[in-house]
Symmetry: C2
Subunit: 431 residues, 2 copies
C-alpha cells in the first residue's frame, strides 16, 4: 500500500503557510502501517492539480490531497477532481441544507460564495466532516483512489481519523515494517551515529537521525517478517549504547516525560524564566492535565524583577549581573518558595543576537532547586551553531531542552556530571 | 525563472520533521521575484532522488534541494547528484582539512563518518557554508541547475542568503509580479472575502486568504507591467473595506506591532497568564530588543497563585472561580502594579479539552489595565472550531492573538466594541 500526498495551495509554495498537514499525515499513516512514498505541493491551478494527481496514481495506490475545498475562488480541488474523473460538478442538496443550518446556528447569513462548498464531482463519495463545513471527497480514478481533504488542519485531522484511516488500514493489510523513534537530549548527531555503528550493522535495521536544536531523535526501522522482534533487538542495542541519554520515545517529548515524573512523585514545579520569556511554562502546560504538576511561573525579564519577584539578592545582581550561576540558583529557590512548589526550575542567559553584559550569545545557566535543599546548577555555554538574527530562536529552544533535561536528571537522581560532560557543566549540592 | 524545491528525507515523509525549509525557501524566493512552482518531498533513496531531480528540471529552470548532505549513511543527495551528472564522487582536500580544523577547534576528534561531508560530485561548484560543516553544491545538469543545500535550517538559510539568492536573482531579471500580505485578527475568512469582492474583481489582481486560528492573512498578487501600481490600488481597496481590522503586513505579526506601538510610547507591558502558560510572554520576547517594551510576566496557573502573586481578591476567586471577567481585570491591574509596567495584560479561561468549573472550552476573558486607570475587558467565547484533544493548542493560540489584538486596540485608542462585535465582547472604563 503506497500513498502519495498532494497538498494544494499557493500559500504553501510562497511559504505563507508551513506544510504541517503533510507532516501530520505522514506520521499518522506510518503509525497505521501505510507508507507515504512522496509528498508534492502544487499551486492553485486546476490543470496542474489534475496532472499531479494523475502522475501520483501512476506510482502509488492512493493519493490524499489537502486544501482547495474552501469557499473562495482559489479553492480548485473540487474542479480538478471532476475534470480528472471526466464528470461534472453537481450541487448536493443535503450539503446545501447543512451549510445553511450551520450558518443559521451561528446567527450568520450564508454568503453565496459558501455554496461552492456544496458542489461535488458527480459520483464522488462524501467524507463526513464533523468539525467544519466542507466534507471530504472520495474519487475513484483509473489508477487508484483520491481522498480530498480540507486544508484546515483541525478539519483535515478529524476526517482522516474518522473516515480515511480506517478505510486505508483495511486496504493495507498487515505491515512487515516496524518503526520506533527514541529521543535523546544534549548529544551530538555524529557522536550518536558513531556509538550506534553496531546497531546500524544489524541486517534489516535502518537508523535515521533527526536533529533539532539540543535534541536528536533516532528513528529505528526494522523490515522483514520478524520486524517486531528485530525492532525490539535494535531498540535494546540503542539503549545499551546511549544509556540514560535516551529520555523517551515516540511523540513523548521532554515536557511530557517531566510531567509524568513529577506526577509519579505527586510533586509540582514552578519556573523562573528570563531569556525564554515563558517558553518553558508554555511547554509544560501544553498537555491536558498539566495543572497537576505545574504550579506557575515568573518571567523576570527586566533584571530588577529578578530581585523584586524572586528575591535574588540585589548585591548578587549588582556584582555579577543577571547572567551568573548563582543568580540561576537564587531564581530557582525563589520561585520554588514563593509559588510553594516542590521544585523550582530557573534559567538565565543570553539569547542574542547581541552579547549581553560581556557574556557571549549562548551563555546560559540553569538551576533546579528541589526539596530538602537539593540544588543543581549547570554552567554550560550552549554549542552555538552560528550567529546573526536567526540564532535567537535556536538558543531559546536549546535553553528549554537544556532546562527540562536538567530537571529530568535531577528527578531521576541521574548523574548531572554525565550530562554536563556533553554540555560542559558542573553540579553542586547544598542540601 | 521557475524554480522547484526538492526536499530529501524519510523523516519528512514520516512526519518526524515538518518541512519548514520549503516554507522559508518559498517566502525568500518570492521576495526576490523568483517563482516556486512545485515542491516535492522524497525519501532517502538515491534512484528516487535522481528521478525527481530530472523530472523537476523538465518543468523548471532550477531545482533547490535540501537535506541529504550530512555525515550519515542515509545522506544520499551527493551520491544522487553524481549519478544524475554521470560523474564520480571525489574527496575534496580543502574540505577535509576544514572539517578537521573545525573538529579540533571544538576539542573533538573527527569521526571517520564525517569525512563523507568532504566528498563532492566531480566538477560541482562548492557553495561556502559559513554556518556549519557541509558545503552546498551547485551541479549543472542537462535541463538546468541544481543547488543542493543542507537540511539543517540554520545552515541552509545561510548558504541561501549568502550564495544562492544573489545568483538566482541575477538570472531572474525584473519581475512583473508584485505581492503583499496584509494581516487581520478576529475576522472570519468568508466575511473578509465577501467584503473584498470589489477588490477581487480588479483585473490583474488575485487575492488569497490564509487562515490561522483567530487570524486571517490576505495575500494580494498583482500581475502585469504595472504590477506595483496595481498592487497599491488593491491594497488601498482592502484597507477601505476592512478598516482598522488590518493590523499589519508582511512578516510583522501582532507581537511586533504591539512592540512597536509600546516603543513609540516609551511604555512597557507586563503579562499575567493562566491558560496560555507563558505563550504570550514567549511571543513578546521573540524579537531582539524586546526588553525595551516587555517587563516580565507571571503565569498564575494554580488558582491560589492568582491571589498570592497578583493580588486578585480571594473573595472574588471564591465567588466566581478563576474564569471570570473581573478576575481578568484584577490580574491585569495586579501584574501592572507589581511589575511596575505602564500596561498590564491578562488572560484567564479554559483551553480544554475538558470544560472547567462549568465553563465551556474556549471561554476566555482578556483584560488590559493601562495608565490612569484605563481598563479594557472583553468577554468573548472564542469561536471554537470543534472539540477533542486537538482543540487545546488552537484555543491557546487564539487566546494569544485575542490578547495581543486587545492590547493593540487599546494602545491605538480604537473602539474595542467594534472588535468585540466579532468576538462578542464589551468594554468598561473605570479611569
Amino acid at each position: 500500500m503506497r500513498v502519495e500526498l498532494l497538498t494544494v495551495g499557493d500559500e504553501l509554495l510562497l511559504g505563507d503557510t508551513i506544510n504541517g498537514n503533510a507532516a501530520w499525515l505522514g506520521r499518522r499513516l506510518a503509525d497505521h502501517g501505510v507508507e507515504v512514498t512522496r509528498s508534492v505541493v502544487v499551486g492553485d491551478e486546476t490543470d496542474v492539480i489534475v496532472q499531479a494527481a494523475g502522475a501520483a496514481l501512476e506510482r502509488a495506490d492512493a493519493v490524499i490531497t489537502t486544501g482547495g475545498l474552501g469557499p473562495t475562488y482559489d479553492d480548485l480541488t473540487r474542479d480538478a477532481l471532476a475534470k480528472a474523473a471526466g464528470v461534472p460538478l453537481i450541487r448536493d442538496a443535503a450539503l446545501e441544507r447543512r451549510l445553511r443550518e450551520r450558518a443559521a446556528a451561528s446567527g450568520l447569513e450564508l454568503e453565496p460564495m459558501a455554496l461552492r462548498m456544496a458542489e461535488v464531482p458527480e459520483g464522488a463519495g462524501l467524507l463526513r466532516n464533523t468539525a467544519g463545513s466542507a466534507p471530504g471527497l472520495r474519487v475513484e480514478l483509473p489508477g487508484g483512489v483520491v481522498y480530498a481533504l480540507p486544508g484546515v488542519p483541525f478539519e483535515m485531522r478529524t476526517i482522516m481519523d474518522e473516515v480515511v484511516l480506517p478505510e486505508l488500514a483495511a486496504r493495507a493489510g498487515r505491515p512487515e515494517v516496524a518503526r520506533r523513534t527514541l529521543r535523546t537530549a544534549r548529544l551530538w548527531e555524529s557522536m550518536i551515529a558513531t556509538r550506534l555503528a553496531p546497531v546500524e550493522a544489524m541486517p534489516g535495521v535502518k537508523l535515521a537521525y533527526l536533529p533539532d536544536p539540543a535534541e536528536v531523535r533516532i528513528r529505528i526501522t526494522a523490515v522483514g517478517p520478524d520486524a517486531r522482534t528485530l525492532l525490539a533487538d535494535a531498540e535494546a542495542g540503542v539503549h545499551a549504547a546511549l544509556g540514560d541519554a535516551v529520555y523517551g520515545e515516540g511523540a513523548e517529548g521532554l515536557d511530557r516525560v517531566v510531567h509524568r515524573l513529577l506526577a509519579e512523585r505527586s510533586a509540582t514545579v514552578a519556573v523562573a524564566e528570563s531569556l525564554t520569556g515563558g517558553l518553558i511554562g508554555a511547554e509544560l502546560t501544553a498537555m491536558p492535565g498539566s495543572s497537576a504538576t505545574y504550579a506557575g511561573g515568573v518571567v523576570a525579564y527586566a533584571t530588577e524583577l529578578k530581585h523584586r519577584l524572586l528575591g535574588v539578592p540585589e548585591a548578587l545582581l549588582a556584582e555579577h549581573g543577571a547572567v551568573h550561576p548563582e543568580v540561576a540558583a537564587a531564581m530557582a529557590e525563589g520561585v520554588r518558595d514563593r509559588l510553594g512548589a516542590a521544585y523550582g526550575l530557573a534559567v538565565t542567559g543570553v539569547a542574542g543576537p547581541e552579547p549581553q553584559d560581556g557574556h557571549s550569545v549562548g551563555t546560559v545557566y540553569a538551576s533546579v532547586a528541589g526539596p530538602g535543599g537539593l540544588l543543581t546548577v549547570t554552567m554550560p555555554r550552549l554549542p552555538v551553531p552560528g550567529a546573526g538574527p536567526e540564532i535567537r530562536p535556536v538558543i531559546r529552544r536549546m535553553t528549554v531542552v537544556h532546562a527540562l533535561e536538567l530537571l529530568r536528571r535531577t528527578l531521576l537522581g541521574l548523574d548531572v556530571d554525565d550530562a554536563a560532560r556533553e554540555g560542559r557543566g558542573v553540579r553542586e549540592e547544598t542540601g
